[in-house]
Symmetry: C2
Subunit: 213 residues, 2 copies
């Protein structure tokens, strides 16, 4: 199984690395990180770069395509070359997937038209204008398209995908290998459970969190 | 707050990137990735490299030191230069921390002697020989030393640390920003809850999972 993960300037590292860690653990898996230009790609914080091993021109197909989100997504919405690449690779995939605001890129490429999808909770209101039904769920499957909510939801997405691709036992082994038995010390991971003051503060600086270039 | 994250050949990406994503989101935070030589550092799968921005020689202090695990840890246990660096930086830290088998490196440097600590569930039995009391908990604090269980536990560790360093509201905002409201589709993340056959299979190939060079 060949997973291709798109990288672009100012993506969010965990959007990509969470699913990578799990998808790469499937026996026989290959994971390819691709960007417009090969080499180091800067994440949104400026503290970290991940290496794209291949240019987009070198990657013409994938079994599974994964598009991470991050503040840099805003600028990519108008990158015709990138959207063309998404459409071309999507035509070859078994699964086309995203984490966080990566779904806005899939939507901008026209790949989610008329479908249900999710994204970071602060970006749900951007989906309808792109012809997508926003679903406030952590992982949303619609045909071969699977989208995850913000940042850390990519790990749950990956386990769902592995279960469908390789079976429950393989997915469970990956979960056990990565010891993914979460115990966050707070119940603040969703706007439904976080303290209202914390939700309000993040809403107030929503554009700063999601990126506005 | 200056967090330094150690990278070395064949570390596990999520061990480092999970905590990085959360610690970097704290207002005023700086995160430095450091390795023996600056430049791309290969992860355990061979599919991905993260860039070390600094050499160990350039990094002499940290508020928070984080050591990830991964198969490459086995070889680093005998790297006197690296263990010296861990001891020297530890002398400057407010918090010295690890994820997964990173605690074995801290222990090899003598930093966990007589303390309680955790590691990947498959490696618990290696702690006592290093003079450490193995605790089967997801996150263990003992003085300024905080250790996390396998791979994904680094995110829970980071939220605990942020709560202690910057307060509950900041930690909750980071959890909400990363939408860390986990919903794994299986209950297989711990040997206590995973199907016995899955646990037995991972135990049987334990050395392959943890690395044996």
């Amino acid at each position: 199984m060949r997973t291709v993960i798109l990288l672009y300037d100012r993506f969010t590292a965990l959007d990509a690395v969470g699913p990578y860690e799990m998808l790469a653990a499937v026996p026989g898996a290959e994971v390819v990180f691709a960007a417009e230009r090969p080499g180091p790609v800067r994440t949104d914080t400026g503290f970290l770069s991940l290496t794209a091993e291949r240019s987009l021109a070198e990657v013409t197909d994938a079994d599974l395509l994964l598009v991470p989100g991050g503040p840099g997504q805003v600028r990519q919405m108008a990158n015709a070359k990138l959207l063309d690449w998404l459409r071309a690779v999507d035509a070859t995939t078994t699964w086309t997937t995203s984490v966080c605001t990566g779904s806005l890129l899939l939507a901008a490429a026209g790949l989610l038209a008329g479908r249900r999808a999710t994204t970071h909770w602060l970006a749900h209101d951007q989906l309808p204008a792109l012809g997508v039904t926003a679903a406030a769920e952590r992982v949303v499957f619609d045909g071969k398209y699977a989208t995850a909510a913000g940042v850390s939801a990519g790990m749950d997405l990956a386990l769902h995908l592995i279960g469908r691709i390789a079976g429950d036992q393989v997915a469970q082994a990956v979960q056990l290998g990565t010891e993914y038995a979460p115990e966050p010390p707070y119940r603040a991971g969703s706007p439904d459970t976080a303290p209202p003051a914390v939700v309000a503060a993040l809403r107030a600086r929503g554009r700063a969190v999601l990126g506005d270039d």
